[in-house]
Amino acid sequence: MMTETELLTWVRGPGFQIATIIFVVGVMLRLFEIIMLGRKANLAEAKGSEMSSGLRTVFSRTLPDASTFKRSTFTITAGYIFHIGLFVVIFLFAPHILLFKEVLGISWPALPSTVIDATAVITIITLVIVLVHRLKDPVKRFLSNFDDYLGWFVTILPLVTGYIAFHRVGMSAPALIAIHILSVELLMVVFPFTKLMHMFTLVLARWYNGAISGYRGVQS
């Protein structure tokens, strides 16, 4: 039986390395799998540029048009909140930035931990609401499969474990941090094989969408 400190050492060392390798190799493999399929050159005479329209759509698709916002208000609003929340909590929390500095060698300013704490609470609550909505909304419930619930679970878990670790509830600090890191490692291992991949592939998808439209002279 491992001690708490041994567990923490393992999740920070070999555990983290394994998870990182699976994450990086998995994401590369998935992207390679997509890109190597290629697509045929378009022989029709172009009316607009693929490249500029594609690039524009990569960014412009982040903002819905007014009418779409009106029709999908909940999905868009909740989506914004938890995506921004995740970004803030993952990338702007001081201890996380230290880790990124260790791994990537670069660092950036952090937000005060009280702000991170509040953001985490908002994000967790939003994710819970999003799940309830997924279970209740006829379209979302109909479309959802195991992947959707797994993706949700491995996303909220590090938030919850992180929140508990931050507030030192129940267990000792090393144990709480070890559990938090483990939950992140679970996310990293699962990531490439679930819909969480959209974080990377949406750049491709949006580019193609914009390119297909732009070629015909329409800005999508």
């Binding site: 697509r39 029709a44 029709r71 959209h198 193609y208 015909r216 329409v218």
Partner: protein, 419 residues
């Protein structure tokens, strides 16, 4: 063509490319495409969510082109495509989708869902799970040359009528003309006034043009049913006729999918760029307007709106041209809420109108167009697709709405100076 499940499965496999793979990899099941689809908004049926219609293609992509899917397939895990499944999807893919592409404009991850459904149809058709109405239309297109069975004598009869009415000569098989005009069967049979209008405008603007007796049909059932082989054959007929008459340009008429077929899909279907240019009639008319070759007499004072045919506007790129032309002749042009590239489909494109089984649902979803029209109180609606036009008239009648549906080309012709 003989259909089988194996052919369908292979056809689906052939459709997968890097666009399809990145689209399916990105879908998060957010359901926003449902909110953008009139077949969902007007029926509330979750199975009509656009991305769900492409499920057969997704399964093939997953099982054939992803590592996890292939491992799963080895162990018999993962959702498979079966013949029963395709049969079940037939009404979703054909009756509940007009390939209008509105979903493709709102998908937050950028999936071109309409294209994914269009690709799914390739598998459906090859497996023999296409609607009887569309199969019939496609057979007629191949054997007779027109989905409605319109033969050359019928066109000749209409030309004789038009010549008598207008006193203008309709040029047929004139070698070396600048433009070769294509027509949809619906224009020939239901709206011969279109030929009349084109003749007047071209006389007015001094455009050299002709109709080919060998390839006058603009529509392409192969595109609608999802059979690239047939679609290519139909495109080739036009390419051959254009070469024979040595024309520099081919005009796509007031028909949505015909423009998609000849302008955007055509060269890719036959695997070769054209030696001629394809222009939509509205592009040509707007070009003439810019050159100052269209002189209009009075202006229309009624409150008019424009219904964007999906394949011409959102999917085709001809959005500003109709507006320029309408503003030239109308004082009171009003846009519908959600317009141009975000317009709502009439409900009968993409082969839905050739599919009698979908008659009820296409009228049900017309409610969307009704709501759009109710918001602006117009006296008339202009459009540029005879398929939209017939269905819009149908829908207006069904919902007891009284307003004329006008062809843009015809309306323009009526307001020319020397007319």
């Amino acid at each position: 063509m003989s259909a089988s499940f194996e052919k369908g499965y292979n056809a689906l496999k052939e459709q997968v490319d890097s666009t399809v793979a990145s689209f399916f990899s990105s879908c998060v099941h957010c359901g926003m495409c449902a909110d953008a689809c009139l077949f969902y908004t007007e029926t509330g049926a979750p199975e009509r969510t656009p991305i769900h219609k492409a499920e057969p293609l997704r399964r093939v992509w997953k099982q054939e082109y992803t590592l996890l899917g292939r491992i799963g397939k080895l162990f018999g895990i993962g959702a498979k495509v079966t013949d029963e499944m395709l049969e079940q999807w037939e009404t979703l893919v054909y009756d509940s989708c007009t390939l209008c592409g509105r979903c493709s404009m709102v998908c937050p991850v950028g999936n071109d869902i309409a294209d994914m459904i269009r690709k799914t149809r390739e598998g459906m058709a090859a497996a023999g799970h296409a609607p009887p109405g569309l199969i019939g239309a496609t057979k007629r297109a191949v054997t007779i040359g027109s989905p409605m069975g319109v033969k050359l004598p019928a066109l000749q009869a209409q030309i004789t009528h038009v010549e008598k009415d207008t006193g203008l000569k309709i040029p047929v098989d004139v070698e070396g003309a600048d433009y070769m005009l294509l027509l949809s069967s619906m224009e020939i049979m239901n709206f011969p006034e279109f030929i009349d209008a084109v003749a007047k405008i071209f006389k007015h603007a001094n455009v050299s043009w002709t109709i080919s007796s060998e390839a006058f049909e603009a529509t392409n059932s192969g595109i609608q049913i999802g059979s690239s082989d047939i679609a290519a054959e139909l495109v080739q007929r036009i390419v051959d006729a254009a070469a024979k008459l040595k024309v520099k340009n081919v005009i796509s008429p007031e028909c949505g999918h015909a423009y998609m077929a000849i302008r955007w899909d055509g060269p890719n279907l036959i695997g070769k760029s054209y030696d001629f240019k394809v222009v939509h009639i509205l592009e040509l008319l707007d070009d003439l307007r810019q050159q100052g070759r269209l002189k209009v007499s009075g202006r229309l004072s009624q409150r008019l709106t424009y219904h964007d045919p999906c394949q011409i506007s959102r999917r085709g790129g001809v959005i500003d041209e109709p507006r320029n032309l309408i503003n030239m002749i109308a004082d009171n042009f009003t846009e519908m809420p959600d317009t141009g590239k975000m317009n709502w489909c009439c409900g009968a494109g993409g082969g839905v109108s050739s599919n009698e089984r979908a008659d009820e649902i296409r009228l049900q979803v017309f409610q969307r167009k009704k709501d759009q029209l109710d918001a602006i109180h117009v006296d008339g609606m202009i459009s540029a697709c005879s398929n939209c036009r017939i269905h819009l008239e149908d829908g207006l009648e069904e919902y007891h709405m009284d307003m004329p549906v006008l062809s843009l080309t015809e309306t323009l012709a009526e307001n020319l100076e020397d007319n």
